[in-house]
Each structure stands twice: as structure tokens, then as C-alpha cells.
Amino acid sequence: MLKTMMRRAGQCAVVAAACLMMSAQAAEPIKIGSFLSVTGPASFLGDPELKTLEMYVEKINEEGGVLGRQLELIHYDDVGNASSARNFASRLIRSDRVDIIVGGSTTGATMAAVPLIEQAQVPFISLAGAVVITTPVKKWVFKTPQSDRMAAERILADMKDRGITKIGLISGTGGFGSSGRTQTLEVAEQMGMDVVADVTYSGSDTDMTAQLTNIRNTKGVEAVLNFGFGQGPAIVTRNYVQLGMELPFYQSHGVASDSFLELAGSSAEGLRLPASPLLVPDSLPQEDPQKEVVQNYKAEYEARWDSKVSTFGAYAYDGLMLAVRAIEKAGSTDPEAVRGALENIQGYVGVTGEFNMSPDDHNGLDADSFRILEVQNGEWKLID
């Protein structure tokens, strides 16, 4: 008798303990790991990204969290250094045991962490641009920004619509410019367009009239495209006008920001570039599904941080929202389930574009998510 009672009590205790453990687990937060370049040379990327993550993790927690659990953001600053990005990714996986990673401001930082993450089998959403991150597809790696290839496709398609088939290309020799150049040459060949002039400039050059004169003197050029980043494209734009060149002029998404307009001044008049709708939130048509998302993000960010919203922060917004959506759909934080859910996200409307993931496409955006803008009277004007 006593024995059975003891056994019963024991069983009860075990059940009770199990119940306790389960409820403790339910209250445990979902860990979102992140490594970003918040300081250092790429701080213009990492700073708005971290601000966005912090702000929306807070907001989601106030609204009750995900699957009834709170989110916990664990963040490290990689200072734009690829090897520390790798170390921090390792720390996130091994000691913090995060459920998902949203981060990697630069392509360098992302690619340094990828082998480790693939091995540890943790879902990873990168915020960096280059095409190599998701081509070829890596099982555990996703990304939110469009690639430079899509930018090239978008620009060349717009040129083709205007009946342009022969272009002059001037690109920076930095990572962004040279990758953009390669993609442009490939896309042009596919689309049956000719790059008749192909010149470059280095990031520290202060005058590009020599290169532009070269393009101007090339027979048959119908439009000029500048693929570059930083102050270079602004100098190219000024020289272009000084030389009195009147061909249609395109820039890349690398300079799609208000500070470019400030540097290039009136010389920027009439040039076109592909950009995020975030630059023109109010001129999007009413029926555009992105309009509300874009306007909300801009308003919330600017109200909270008292600084101008940037395209880069939007990559983090989309990264976090995709992660949340995948965890909700998977119903748990089981890595394989979350990965599967991420891969099958369809029709998520973000700030950057509409994401349609698939096992062959871990980016989920198409070239149309870029909008073609034209500078008119010193302001961005939505063309397409």
C-alpha cells in the first residue's frame, strides 16, 4: 500500500516536473542573433540596420511576441571586418545558441560566416547585396536585398524600352563597381545589347573627364551607365554635364540616396537610376501593395530615431519580418522547420519588394522590385 502510494507520488512528481519544465520552455525567449557593421567604414549600413532590428524587436515584444514567446536580440558589432564577423557568428551559434541569425551588413562579412553557419545548420538571413550569397543556392542562407545583377537587368530593360541598344559603361574599380560591371556585361549580352565603351576609375580619382571624353568619342554610344559607390559617381555626374554630354545617363542603386543629390547638385537633373520605393513613399500609386508598408516603416523609423530612414535599414526590417513569419509558420524554432518555412514564403510584401522564396531562389525578389526614378527639379520622381 505504502509502496503503491509512494510510486504514485513519484509518478505525479515526474509529471509535475515535466509540466514545469515545459512551461519554463514556453516562457523562454526566441533568440535572434545578429552581427552587423555598426561602426567602422561600413557603418552607414550597420547603423540603420541595428536601429531597425532593436526597434522592431521591441515592438513585436510589446504586442505579445511570437508564438507567445518574447524575442531576444543578441547582437555583435563586426566593425566591417570579415574575420570578426566569422568569430561572432561562431559565438552566436556555439555559446548563445541562437535560433536564427539576421545580419551580415557587407558581402565580405556574410561570406566569411557562411561556411560556419552551413555546418552548424542555423537559418541565416543576410542583409548584403552581392549575387554570390544566394547563387548557387546554399541550404541555410537567405538574403533580403536585391543583387547588383537585378539592378543591371532593370537599368538595361529601361534603356531597351527607350530604344537604346549601344551603351557606354563607366564603373568604379572598387568591389561594388567591378561586380556591377561584370553583371552589366553579362546581362547586356543576354539582352542583345552592346557595351561599346567600357572604362573605369579608381575610388580616389577626383576627375573623370578623361574617361568620359573617351566614351563621348566612341562611335554609336546611345546612353551612359555609371556603376559605382560613394563620391565617385557624383564627380562623374558633374563632369558629364561639364563636358556637355546629352545622352541619357543612368546611375546604379549604389547612389540611390538624398546625399547623392546634394553632392551632384543640378548636374543630376534628368538622370535615372533603380532604387527602393523608400525614396518616393508618397508618389507610389494607391493600389501599390508596398505603399503602406513603406510609409509605415519610414514614419516609425524617423519618429523613433529622429534621423532619415535609409534603404539599408529596410533590409533589416525585411530580414526580421521574414524570420518572424517563418517561425510562426513553422510553429516552433526547430531549425529545419524554420528553414523549410523560410524557403516557402510566398507573397510577403516588404519594404524592399515582394518576396517569393523557393528552394531555387533564396532571395525571392525579382528585378521589378527596383523602381526606376528620374531626378527632376532636384527631387526623385517615380518613372516606373
Binding site: S43, T200, T209, A210, Q211, I235, Q242, L243, S259, L263
Partner: protein, 291 residues
């Protein structure tokens, strides 16, 4: 054909004139102390950035320029007083390393005060470019050339006609002897730093409308200026001007006629060639080692 050539030439001369002004600053300090002042580029940056931020505060352009030049001059004096002078008997290499440290320090402060963005400065006169035989010349280029020429003439007069200028020259030739005839050599060194800071800041201001300006613009332009000074022969005023112009023109011609990819390679091969056949540069002084 001619238009093309002229275009490259204009581009080259404009960049070259900037290099020449920076090279002159190197030359000045080198002459007075045998120190290569790697903070020279920072004077350039201070000139441009201070002018931009003062005009943004509503100060009229002319006054902003004057204030920026004065600020750079004060900084030059401070650099000599607080960084170079305390190192008294240190050898030249140590002093050069001190100037590198100073340049990093100044750049860091500029980054904190002015931020990391690029800034625009308006052209001094019209934005309308000038057409010459089918080539285009930015009106600001004329300012760069004109002010550069004025600076060179002023420097020559300063060194040959004024007592202070002669004192600097004397110090550069023989420090001990200069001290014996009553020249306060520390004072002379301070002056040399100030004048070269003024020179650098003026260069920084006149080129800012062409190149934009930011906290780190001094690194690249400073290095190119040093290269120009080395080609011309360190210590030679004429050499600095010729070296600067030659470097600018070769860069522009290479970018135009060969390929922009090889532009820097061509410029550096030129340095190698010059230094190989004329180790003291084009106009370097012949130094006879007295035994």
C-alpha cells in the same frame, strides 16, 4: 583629335596644379628641417572642410576662406610646438613618424567634428564651363592654376626678398651656423610649418569645388603630392611644380589614351624611371658628402 588631346591636357594640368601646391608644402618643411611632413594632406582637408562648414553656418565665402586659412596656420604652429619641438634631438625618421601620428590624430578629430560625409563647395565663379577648341574647361580650373601661380611667385619672393625667408633658407643649409649668426632656429621651424599649412589649406580650398571634400581627402591627395615632390626632387621648389604638373598630365593622358585601369601603374612606372636614372629627382640638389 586636337579637342581630345586638349581635354586630357586640361584635366591633367588641373589635377597637376593641385599636386604641385601640395608638393610645395612638403618641400618647404623638408628644406627647413629635413622632415617629410605626412600631415601635409590634413592641412588641405582642414582648409576645405572649415570653409565648407563656415559657409554652411552663414559666414560669407571670403571671410570663411580667410578664417579657414588662419585655422590651418594655427594648426601648423601647434603641430610644430606640441608634436615636433618636444622631440628635440630626435632623428629625422622619428620626426616623420610623429607627423604620421599627428595626421591620424587630426583626421580623427575632423571625423568627430564634421562627420564622415562628403561635402560640396560652390565654384568660386560661374558653374558654366568654358569651351576651348572643342575641349571643355571647368572655370574652377582657372582658379586653381591662377592661385597656384600666385602662390609660387609669392614663395619665391618670400625666400629671396625677405629676411625671414632668408633665415629659413639659412637654417635649411646649416642649422648650427644659422644659430651662430643669431637666427632662432626653433622660430624658423615654426614659421616653416605655418607657411606650409597656409599653402596646404589654400590648395584644399581651391580644389574642393572640383573634388568635393571630406575628412579623409588628405590621405590620397597628400600621398600624390608627396610623389610629385619626390619626382621633382625633394627640396626643390621648381621640382615640386614640375613634378606635380608632370604627374597630373601623365595620369590624365594614360587614362584617356591607354586605359583608366593602367593610369596609376603608368604614374608609378614614371616615378620608378625618374628615380632610377636620377635618384635625387628631376631638380634635386647635388649633395656632396664632405669627409
Amino acid at each position: 583629335m586636337l579637342a581630345e588631346f586638349l581635354q586630357y591636357l586640361f584635366t591633367g594640368i588641373t589635377i597637376g596644379a593641385t599636386y604641385a601646391l601640395i608638393a610645395l608644402g612638403f618641400t618647404l618643411i623638408y628644406n627647413a628641417s629635413h622632415v617629410i611632413n605626412f600631415a601635409q594632406g590634413e592641412f588641405l582637408m582642414i582648409g576645405g572642410m572649415a570653409t565648407v562648414s563656415l559657409t554652411a553656418m552663414g559666414v560669407p565665402m571670403v571671410i570663411a576662406v580667410v578664417l579657414a586659412v588662419i585655422l590651418a596656420g594655427v594648426l601648423g604652429i601647434a603641430l610644430q610646438r606640441f608634436a615636433i619641438a618636444p622631440a628635440k634631438q630626435a632623428d629625422v625618421v622619428t620626426l616623420i613618424i610623429i607627423t604620421i601620428g599627428a595626421s591620424i590624430f587630426i583626421r580623427g578629430i575632423a571625423q568627430v567634428v564634421w562627420g564622415k560625409e562628403y561635402h560640396v563647395m560652390q565654384n568660386f565663379s560661374t558653374d558654366q564651363p568654358i569651351q576651348v577648341f572643342g575641349a571643355v574647361l571647368n572655370s574652377q580650373s582657372l582658379w586653381v592654376l591662377g592661385i597656384g601661380a600666385v602662390m609660387v611667385v609669392a614663395l619665391v619672393l618670400f625666400f629671396t626678398k625677405t629676411l625671414i625667408g632668408k633665415a629659413i633658407l639659412a637654417t635649411s643649409m646649416n642649422k648650427e651656423a644659422a644659430r651662430l649668426v643669431g637666427i632662432r632656429t626653433q622660430m624658423v621651424l615654426m614659421l616653416a610649418f605655418m607657411v606650409s599649412a597656409l599653402l596646404g589649406s589654400v590648395a584644399g580650398i581651391v580644389v574642393a569645388p572640383i573634388t568635393f571634400t571630406s575628412y579623409d581627402i588628405g590621405i590620397i591627395l597628400g600621398l600624390k603630392g608627396f610623389v610629385a615632390a619626390a619626382i621633382g626632387g625633394l627640396g626643390s621648389g621648381v621640382g615640386a611644380v614640375v613634378g606635380g604638373l608632370a604627374l597630373g598630365i601623365v595620369e590624365a593622358m594614360a587614362a584617356g589614351y591607354i586605359s583608366s585601369d593602367y593610369k596609376d601603374a603608368v604614374a608609378f612606372s614614371m616615378i620608378l624611371l625618374v628615380l632610377f636614372f636620377m635618384p635625387r629627382g628631376l631638380f634635386g640638389a647635388k649633395v656632396v658628402e664632405r669627409v
